[in-house]
């Protein structure tokens, strides 16, 4: 038995088959691999985003820590940055002494990444209590100063002559900027 297809029907079948084949080939060779790549990139982006968020949170956390440290140690930070001025020191601490003179500062070896300068001080005090008050006030001064040995006290009539050295500490960064 012979089936007779009309020419039009044959065109229709061929066209259908061609289009179907095109759709299948396009889907399997182009669209599905592209979809897989899309999924991989989407997952990668999600991972990268979460890593970015973690880093951003960590950065904020560090900033908060730094700000807290800076606000807690504001005096120390400013004091380390200040350049020592003998005149200003004398002006600020003269009230503890009857007389006070500070020698020119000389550079010492660096200590723990801090620049250290030494100044010699000679003064006259009416009682040791003035010296204790001075030591209390040094800790609140505009510089980081360590009162150093040797310390000499000598009776001079009603007064006490005292001489001692002081180490002034500066942060190296502040020196570099000056």
């Amino acid at each position: 038995m012979k089936i007779n297809y009309s020419r039009q029907n044959m065109y229709l079948i061929f066209m259908t088959l061609f289009l179907l084949l095109f759709v299948l080939i396009f889907s399997f060779l182009v669209l599905i691999p592209e979809g897989k790549e899309y999924r991989i990139k989407k997952a990668e982006l999600k991972r990268e985003n979460s890593e970015l968020k973690q880093l951003s949170d960590f950065s904020i956390e560090k900033e908060v820590v730094l700000q807290k440290l800076q606000s807690d140690n504001l005096h120390a930070i400013k004091a380390f940055a200040n350049n020592f001025s003998p005149k200003r020191f004398e002006k600020q601490h003269r009230l503890f002494f009857s007389s006070l003179s500070i020698s020119k500062k000389s550079k010492l070896e660096d200590e723990d990444d801090f620049s250290v300068y030494e100044v010699n001080t000679t003064s006259q005090i009416s009682s040791p209590k003035s010296f204790y008050n001075f030591l209390d006030s040094v800790n609140k001064s505009d510089w980081i100063i360590a009162v150093n040995f040797p310390i000499n006290f000598k009776r001079d009539g009603e007064m006490i002559s005292s001489s001692f050295t002081m180490k002034v500490y500066n942060s190296k960064e502040s020196n570099a900027t000056k």
Binding site: E44, L52, S59, A76, D112, F131, F149
Partner: protein
């Protein structure tokens, strides 16, 4: 003369079947291409976003390392200042204790306070007062204590008391 009772159909290239087929495949291919275009666009956006995220991450890492450096500097400054302030306070207490140690009957004329020693010059009514009231407490603080006396004009005794702490012994005691 008519041979058929029906009206002849006009012959067209795009028959109803072919039109249906084209519409069906047209819609399908359009959807496939639009999906493909969407995926390509998204891929492009993802690549761009990944690039910007990588840049942001690098920036954040640099920022974090800078913050860490700043934190380390501030911590170091804080520790150093605390150490110095404590040293000054300890020095104040030490001098205070030293002057408290001297009894009222002994008068100091000079005191030299050193890192590992103390030299006192003064005047005492007699040796016993010096030995019991000043030398005894000094001996309990210092490892080596030397005293020398010479007479003063008013009959009292001038003294020089030299006291040292041995660093080695201090280390072994610790």
């Amino acid at each position: 003369m008519r041979y058929s009772y029906i009206k002849p159909r006009p012959k067209v290239v795009f028959t109803k079947d072919l039109q249906l087929l084209f519409i069906f495949f047209g819609v399908t291919i359009f959807m496939l291409f639009s999906t493909y275009a969407f995926l390509l666009f998204k891929d492009y956006r993802f690549t761009q976003e990944l690039q910007s995220i990588t840049e942001e991450k690098n920036q954040l890492r640099t920022n974090i390392s800078k913050l860490n450096e700043q934190i380390a500097v501030v911590e170091k400054q804080s520790l150093m200042s605390e150490k110095i302030f404590t040293k000054n306070s300890v020095l104040k207490d030490s001098i205070n204790n030293l002057f408290d140690l001297v009894p009222s009957r002994i008068t100091l004329s000079e005191a030299k306070i050193m890192q590992d020693g103390l030299i006192l010059y003064g005047i005492t009514p007699n040796k016993d007062i010096y030995n019991f009231m000043l030398q005894a407490p000094l001996r309990s603080i210092f490892h080596r204590t030397y005293s020398s006396f010479y007479p003063a004009e008013n009959g009292w005794l001038r003294f020089v008391s030299t006291n040292y702490i041995d660093e080695e012994e201090l280390g072994s005691e610790n």
